[in-house]
Subunit: 262 residues, 4 copies
């Protein structure tokens, strides 16, 4: 009977044991708990909230820590059901020292013993990474893999675009350093300083904390800003074409599979 | 004769009774009235205008309210012509408690009795939603449905992009909170505060009301800003590919329909 | 001999008389003169330059005016060579009262008699429109027509996107008016005022002259800014797909033309 | 034996002598040295760093100069192995006066004798151009050529978009000059001044150093900002379609090559 319960626990916790690629109820609940715990971790950094609702935050952290601890123990216990000829304890050790196992443990410790870990508040954001583990299966992860595949096929194109963008960033910064360095030494007195301006301009963010004031500086900056359009258009175009290409091939595969099946 | 008039009214007001999918003259006029009434509602929130042309605004509101009231009564009256075996009053009740019927009623009340409704000025913007009902048929709605269909086919890809973007937003905010939290507690003193910065930066809006001032903060912010390009490029690429794919299939369908018709 | 010279002049000035769609030497020279005259018109609005180099500007304007006058007279004279059974003077009158003829005349008058025309400096920018007439033929105009055609085929999709964008602009402005209207009456005191903010935010320009300061306003503004990504991604995606589709059909047409030609 | 060493040196330094298009170990090392030397050149413009670590910077510059000098000498020596019937010295002279040869020499001089060259710090950024020469071969350069090819095929479309964008920039600047010129003479007092605003707005950078303050100016600026979306969407769409088209043809070529090979 224990074996049967362990088997069920394993199926619920480790989604890969399901064949249809859907998330189990337990996984869905855990994802919800992780998301809520991340929201609490984020809100907890706001001093005003953290001090006013101190008890609620401590209670919540303890609850999350408890849930993650129980989940961790269940995982270590039930992983013995994993397929393979190793002994149960060997499988457990493999899980404990796997990246996901260590992440789970780190999350438990950061939740239950905040005083042990320096920077516990930021450490708690690691929970977000747990989502990657929990959603490792199913359609979302398939979509992620497809996106990654389409992009990696065009990695040389994207690398070339990146190299052009980096050169543009550097030459733009050098040009503005040359044109404005004497007038605004604080902002353009060196190329590294001017790069802050050139990155914020080429990404079209444009805070306006630094901007050229001389006519020559403005003419050069206008040219840099205009080429910034290409900086956005090129990778967007490559990615769009890559996705379009991937869908096209997917359809052609489906069609030719249908024809040969006839 | 009344039945014939009721029939004509029904055809004019409920565009779905036409088969060619074009808007009736009455629907076009109503769309124009709705658009003008929205412009009046918007301008009416400007105190200077509202007090100077007080009489015009009140007269306009009464007129719009009158038109919408007449339209509402006509709709309730003529909906009895709808196909179906229910009694005329049953059809009328169905219309009155349908979402569009309730919206029409709400618009009439907000126009004619502004004192009855709290926040009537904002309530009047509901008229804009009436457009959705009025334009429910015809080519625009077909285009909307096609766009929605193309996007919904790629919903997993878009969801993955969204999840990546949300993680980027959160980690960017956490990084800047860590780097600038002590120097600018007002802007980066907690992760929720830093998220305002990270959203305004990643969407490339860049107001400049908050921006990092330490070298470390600027380096991290530059990295966040650069990854913001991907945040825009990824969904654009997916949407472009989805639309391209939809058109492609549309053409293939047309071609194969033409071939089998030969 | 005069007829032969008139014929040559006609061929040089009216590019449509050439069959290969390339610009004649005279047209190229005129385009260069127009571009230079636009640059002078632009620089002439800068008071410091205009007063320091007063003589140069006046001489330049007289020269441009002279060239345009000679060109105009030549056009009127040589248009008699146009194909058609009308009399020479009838053809000339047709040219004079055609939009391009009137534009040419207006440009001559604005150049030579600046005192006659109110706002002559801005009037001179009309020269830029002459470029459209001069480049009406050849590959550039073909590319323009193709771009226009691809976009007009997707006009319903683009209209729907525009309508969604307009609603977003309006509801965003209404939301911020509601959240910040009391705190910042100057910037958000009415919906029309708030629309300045909402347009500058949704286009991701983000001057930062107005931005929300209350927590609620920031949350709403963050949502508006995030949806601004879609506002850029949707039309870009539609246009990319439309262009891609146009090229695809062009290739298919070429291929099938090649096959039927075999 | 010297000939054999010279042959090996040639193969290592001039990647085109390899047939598989991969970079040689020496080329990879040189790329690394160039990148590091660029970083040093960039950091060296920061006065605070340059004076504190003066010795390190001088030593680094000497080292880089030494490496580049040795490389240059080796290139001149080994280029004699190049295929062709010219004498060894003729080949050497050809290399020395080739653009890459002159660039290499300029980089050596700017590194070793900074006092000889005015503006040596900026001159050192020329090293970045050396990367283009070092990476001339292999997959990256193939990707660059493909991107360039896809874009150059659509050059008329892109030119038309550019011309439209330039007109928009000019008319936007003229409109704001007309609306705001009297109120803000410093920012909008002439069309060239207003063009700074119009470029920063249309590229969606939006520093906020200049922005309209009158209602009319804001309405015109809002229209300019909205059309700025098209300014980004059009080239992105064209580039995406061009890349998509290039991939499509590449696949079709591959497929038809496979079929005819059967």
């Amino acid at each position: 009977m224990t074996a049967s319960l362990r088997r069920k626990t394993y199926r619920q916790l480790f989604a890969s044991s399901r064949t249809d690629g859907r998330l189990t109820l337990t996984n869905r609940l855990l994802i919800a708990v992780v998301l809520i715990s991340v929201i609490f971790a984020v809100l907890g950094t706001e001093a005003a909230l953290a001090s006013e609702y101190r008890d609620i935050f401590i209670a919540a952290e303890m609850t999350f820590g408890g849930v993650f601890l129980v989940e961790y123990v269940c995982r270590v216990w039930s992983v013995a059901e994993k397929e393979g000829s190793e002994t149960a304890w060997r499988k457990r050790l493999d899980f404990i020292i796997s990246p996901f196992g260590l992440l789970d443990l780190a999350v438990v410790v950061a939740s239950l013993f905040p005083l042990l870990v320096t920077g516990a508040p930021l450490f708690r954001l690691l929970r977000l990474l747990r989502l990657a583990a929990l959603m490792k299966f199913g359609r979302f992860s398939m979509a992620l893999r497809e996106l990654g595949h389409a992009i990696s096929e065009r990695r040389y194109d994207l690398f070339v675009t990146l190299a052009l963008a980096a050169s543009l960033l550097l030459f733009g910064a050098a040009a503005l350093h040359w044109a404005e360095g004497r007038v605004q030494p604080e902002a353009f007195g060196s190329i590294p300083r001017a790069m802050w301006w050139s990155i914020i301009t080429l990404t079209t963010v444009g805070y306006g904390d630094v901007s050229p004031i001389t006519p020559l500086g403005k003419i050069l900056a206008a040219m840099v800003a205009l080429s910034g359009i290409g900086l956005v258009a090129m990778p967007t175009g490559i990615i769009a074409a890559a996705f379009s290409d991937a869908m096209q091939r997917h359809r052609e595969r489906t069609v030719s599979a249908g024809q040969s099946g006839r």
